[in-house]
Symmetry: D2
């Protein structure tokens, strides 16, 4: 190891883009794909499918509660990391043990923590500023609005301060296929979603929260680096029109990216992210713990529940760690 031997990162030619950005922060002339919600809730909408959560859908969601049993869907933070690089630290800035060694007991002893974590690690909600395609974000906002110093000047996750509450529906693909974990490469498309829903006699409607179980997280051995963005089963990009047609407010899964991650090394492709977040404004929840919930649903044959997730209202943030809850 020679201290001067730090490799230079590659640089390459750059040509300025040909578009302009208007005074609303929109890329002039930008167009979404066919399935999209641009403009549906106003030209300045920043909430996307969170708009599908209405008083009516919330009330209906609460009405699905029958037993009152809760199923937390979040990974313990500080438990198994989700990739090669641990990205969460909880550091103590004071401890009650300090009080044991304090010379006086004039003040009560207390503990305090400092949390340092990637907002998109462990169980997480992807906000609408998370991914861009052809330099545009949801609703036509320019990807250049998300900067190091300014954060997300539009589409910040704090717009989701009132959370996502909805009737949740679990689609247990692994159980339907009779496998502990859906193998990478399996196409989870609209036909398979429909087949599982038909088999469980469950319908999905506007504002609902769709949760898809692949078995990936539950069968993970917990070895750092073995999950991350390894090849995993997940939704195929062909689900996008289906998701749009069913008008779900959020789609979540027990894998790294909701969508399938393929095996081709180096080809990091996330077409469903782009279509969902950018075109539909559809929120994504990743690395959900769905096994216990699935067992309960299978036991009584009821695959719907009240779903609640309350992201941290980080001003200008692009995502949030979450600990969603299902109540049956």
């Amino acid at each position: 190891m020679n201290p001067q031997d730090v490799p230079e990162p590659p640089v390459a030619p750059w040509h300025p883009p040909s578009y302009t950005v208007d005074r609303h922060g929109k890329v002039a002339g930008a167009r979404p794909r066919r399935a999209n919600n641009w403009g549906r809730w106003g030209a300045d909408d920043q909430k996307g499918t969170a708009n599908l959560v209405t008083d009516d859908t919330v009330r209906a969601a609460a009405a699905t509660v029958r037993t009152g049993r809760r199923y937390p869907l979040g990974l313990p933070i500080g438990g198994p990391p989700t990739g090669a690089v641990p990205r969460a630290m909880v550091v103590r800035t004071a401890t009650t043990a300090d009080g044991v060694v304090a010379p006086t007991t004039a003040h009560p002893a207390y503990s305090d923590d400092l949390l340092i974590m990637g907002t998109q690690t462990y169980t997480q909600l992807d906000g609408l500023a998370h991914v861009a395609d052809r330099d545009t974000l949801y609703n036509g906002y320019w990807s250049g609005l998300v900067t190091a110093a300014g954060g997300a000047r539009r589409l910040g996750i704090h717009h989701l301060i009132d959370g996502i509450v909805g009737r949740g529906v679990l689609v247990d693909v692994a159980r339907h296929l009779g496998v502990p974990v859906v193998p990478p490469g399996t196409v989870i498309g609209p036909a398979l979603l429909d087949a599982v829903l038909r088999a469980t006699g469950t319908a999905v409607g506007p504002g609902d929260v769709l949760l898809v179980r692949t078995g990936v997280l539950g069968s993970w051995d917990g070895v750092a680096g073995s999950l991350g963005t390894s090849p995993q089963a997940g939704l195929d990009v062909s689900c996008v029109p289906w998701l749009a047609r069913h008008d779900v407010s959020l789609v979540g899964a027990d894998n790294s990216a909701v969508e399938a991650l393929d095996a081709t090394a180096g080809s990091w492709r996330i077409p469903l992210h782009l279509a969902a977040l950018r075109d539909l404004g559809l929120l994504l929840a990743e690395l959900l713990c769905l096994d216990e919930l699935a067992d309960a649903c299978a036991a009584d044959g009821v695959w719907e529940f009240m779903f609640v997730t309350l992201p941290l209202p980080l001003v200008g943030g692009v995502g949030s760690p979450i600990n969603p809850l299902a109540i049956r």
Copy 2:
């Protein structure tokens, strides 16, 4: 400013404590105050009043939802700080703007954040490892179990992974007294709580979540340092037996510490914290935004609602930022 002129912190004599700690991490012979829940849910209980949240109380809480209207109770994070020292930063580790200046568009552009914040800043939940009295925590656990390297070896906030869900009751003391903000020094004791509840025709029962509105946060001018631990109205320590008798699962307020902070400079006293967290195992939620919720309750005279808070399940953590939700 002379670089060597760093003052030496004071040190003082220390004598070892006279107690011993048993193999369960309990201080031998430790006793709680009269109103307490030690042992009530088992000698090894680590959840305190979260045990009062049962399937039945959750089901009943969901049944209070009438309109489906949501009221988020969390402060935006990165908005006005809560004290002299800002303790939350959201830092971007990648931005979609990076994509605008990227030489190629081989990969989709994405944004990512790193969150750095005190877990007990902004709207927050105090966990049971947060404060100690006479070297003991809730249920007799030793305060020495919370260390810098080990975190909270018992009573970590991850034990609250299934959140607090309950029938919430708002006690709007400021409105009852006809003031925008209850002045510091006002005693908010059991009599005043009962008076407000009587006036609104509302009862509080086992597992309920009690929220107390003082007007402190709503009348705060947002100037850093002006809130913090300044003198503020809050619950008087005489409320403790009342809280124990009513068996609430959580008590929250729109001020810094739930309890009253008095004006005597330097005398940082938090007797209700000690009695609630250590003796009762009663969870505390601080810096709640209650004004909108209060207006809605006053408008239709219904002061109950479904309350949900989902702390981050930080393993060995002593608190969590929260964004609680009331659903009416």
Copy 3:
């Protein structure tokens, strides 16, 4: 405080720049100002005036040591902050006190810290990727090379891994003017620099480190927010040709920005930064503690010394906290 009342940051129209960037990461056709070092040490130079530090100048610097007395020039970190927002935290991740409360003594007790700080806070070295002018950095590199995800792909501070070592010369402007602190608005231009050097019989030559004392830091009352970027005496931009002509390797001062900060609210102007860092590749050291060193120089009339600063070799970093040393 209403949780939804987070103001939207302004956005504005944007037109793409008219330039292109070549395969070396340079802005095509970019030109520096008249006084500049672009190309002087090669088209791909990333060290700027650090190139003026040679074996010969280092040897000559060591030869200035006469007494061996050391003068540390760095602010204690965690002492008085340098602006409104404290930007340094030292957090313990383990403490030897943990050992006092450890049940066994199988392992030695140890302490560990986590440092969280802005690299350009407290006493600091500005690297060559720190400021851009008309989208170019030193040597014509494009400002777009410094991104959130990639850091400084060129001109990273790790290129200064062998530090700046040189013959230091102190120009004590405050003492020369007979004031404890040079008042804001005072023009410290070439004539004044020459006058002080003449009065002290000192010359400045190639590779030397020029330190300018204004009294600003020494007269600061330590109140957070009172220093920061408040109006302060400092070098006038007219010094740039003088600095270029004398070929100094680094210029430092006991104020926030080396250069003068004027009183006009809101008009954050740093012309000397732009000319020094971007055109000359001249390194800047800020918030140096110069009072003790100045007293020693005044006492014996010798205003030269060996200067050493060793920035942290942060790969792709744009600055570093430093604790420079003068040895007389």
Copy 4:
């Protein structure tokens, strides 16, 4: 992965220690081992062997500079990590690329970093509060003085604000033995140190800085986790009296812990740390890059040089990242 399946950390009985602590923060009756410097520089000394750096030794160190050639000894930070868990992050809080996408150019574009790193990772200086033995630190200070909330109330690394400057002597054990890397298990004791010094005709005296080259860092393959605290060659604890007798101000090496780390899994033993830091107050520098320096020394047969290291003056800190410099 079941969210509730977080294992409980073990707890164990605890008995209070039998000692008391006096008003100076000293453990009553504590005794160092035979080779020690307790009291040598006063009962309240907090600098240990940094006291051996005097005006005379600094002047003599400067006099060793012959060529002016510099050899940086610090690992690039953000280059290969030093253990299984990367513990340094440099995060951008502003980038000049932000300026490219800024709607106006009213303000100059600038970049800023936030540094997050363990102070005892990468090339590092162990401060005197780093390790304790039998609840005592150097000079008899109580290990309980280093707490989460208070940091190091005594022996903080800011006491080393004027750095360690000295005549450095390189003992190249690997080269002497004719191996690229000294194998784990090799005893590097006083006899071997003396043999190398004799072979190179070099003496070590009071205030000198002793650097020992094992080849460990240079032969490391850079794979995360492969260095850390794996079995490594290093100084044997039998060197302690030798180090005391030669009165060196600092001892450093190109391995993880200066001392040998043995192969016995789970038996984390650091006897030289305890004797050096706690008894002698002798500073340790770890993970130094010594290969280039060694090649230069071997080429001309001169094994002495000027050594400078300037730790960050972290108030109450227990260590510091460093980038030491050797000047030949």
